[in-house]
Symmetry: D2
Amino acid sequence: MLGAPVHIAVIGAHLKNDSVEELAEAVGRQIGMAGAVLVSGGGTGVMEAASRGAKGEGGLTIGILFEASRSDANEFIDVAIPTGLGHMRNSLVVQTADAVIAVGGAWGTLSEIALARCHDKPVVLLASWGLERPDGEPLDVLVAETPEDAVRLALGAI
Amino acid sequence: MLGAPVHIAVIGAHLKNDSVEELAEAVGRQIGMAGAVLVSGGGTGVMEAASRGAKGEGGLTIGILFEASRSDANEFIDVAIPTGLGHMRNSLVVQTADAVIAVGGAWGTLSEIALARCHDKPVVLLASWGLERPDGEPLDVLVAETPEDAVRLALGAI
Amino acid sequence: MLGAPVHIAVIGAHLKNDSVEELAEAVGRQIGMAGAVLVSGGGTGVMEAASRGAKGEGGLTIGILFEASRSDANEFIDVAIPTGLGHMRNSLVVQTADAVIAVGGAWGTLSEIALARCHDKPVVLLASWGLERPDGEPLDVLVAETPEDAVRLALGAI
Amino acid sequence: MLGAPVHIAVIGAHLKNDSVEELAEAVGRQIGMAGAVLVSGGGTGVMEAASRGAKGEGGLTIGILFEASRSDANEFIDVAIPTGLGHMRNSLVVQTADAVIAVGGAWGTLSEIALARCHDKPVVLLASWGLERPDGEPLDVLVAETPEDAVRLALGAI
């Protein structure tokens, strides 16, 4: 099945932010070039930029939507799952992936980073949240400097 | 996007039942031949038979899984969404489709028939549940006699 | 904990229907008199009538809401859980109960009847859906003639 | 309805940690003394300690469970909602509250902090996660030094 290739989720904010979207598109391109499936929330901003990047390289893109209608997916989504779950769909995004790359991000992205770790999925942060555990223990997430680095770390961690 | 074609969900029981699975496979074939995307719960029984039918005609199959791991999808699923939601995922199956065809079915199938109508999705019954509303009003579902009939009715109702 | 008493869900349509609401209120009264906790979707129609009946007898009422705000509960709900899940919350209503009584009902109610059986919860039908399984096997639900009968059957089945 | 009082969620890890649970129990006591309803995930660790604190002051406690059975609630939960949703229930915990207090916490707690902010609920951190936004903007969460301080800040922010 197409499900056999590695699936990587790219998570980030839906609001417009040129420099962050440039990073996300480069991440998407690397995912497409690696033959991996790109999973996202299927919306605007980082989700759209990453999906555009992957499609440009012939990749397959899955969008698990905040909204209840398939037509709410951005134009670079091949397979749209409309949930109507709002932010509760964040959990489905990370469960569908083998690893998660956060590019920038707001509170929704932070929830996905945390839920990914609850499900023991490797997480790579690129220009994303700074985090310190309450107990001071090491974080158990990976930090990337570039889009290439992010995808390399994600593929290596699966 | 691939999301633009019509999506038809085929719903039915996961337990083995040769005659019902034969009907489901024929429904899947018709869906594949029509160029529609087949959505199901991605499991065994009717879900597997319908997906096998669609794949045999070159169709695309989406499975929205009861379980939390992509590897629980049957072998005919192209895109698997692992939810870990159990029967709550039934709602996502029908939301992802433009019309729903029930083939036979047990209680889970009945919940999907009902949830599809809650979301105003056309429902076609093939050798499936008999239903009578409490108020005696007409049911507002379609009843098919054959697999060809079922897919024709579903496509016509979208 | 208050959770130790028996919990009975009363399910039915949110639209106004005087004769059905009269039955629902009587069911709620019997539940309150039995010292059981009443669970519902917390909305209007049957949900409100049943909760009013239970409160009149000093019962505790839980409402698991379609909407995302506690303020959407009807005035007879003691504990409101706002889900924002729409019809997906139907599954939580039946999971929270030890038995389910359907009074009249539309498609949402039918989904709850079916989901209750998926979770092996006893179901009692009062002036509700007529159902016939695809395989012609017996239904495994109870049918009541009166509100008193419905609550007696539900308590007996737990 | 009982739903009218302020509802405060206390979130934190389920694993045993004496010093963190001591803080959580003190937070629960303050919530009970304030006449507020305590919402939690209904499990062990911080959830149990906070609920014990609230019950000791005569407060009402709601537990929205990870598991699918009411019997999985800790003994200090008055009203248990079994979800079977796993970490997806984290969203329901914060939606049911008017404000959220995080005491210590692991990844699940971080997801609840983030989901609370997605839903515009005030968040108070007590000996909890250190957070820095990707864009360097201020965090828009409150930081408390003591349990008394935490409940005072939460009540003030509603």
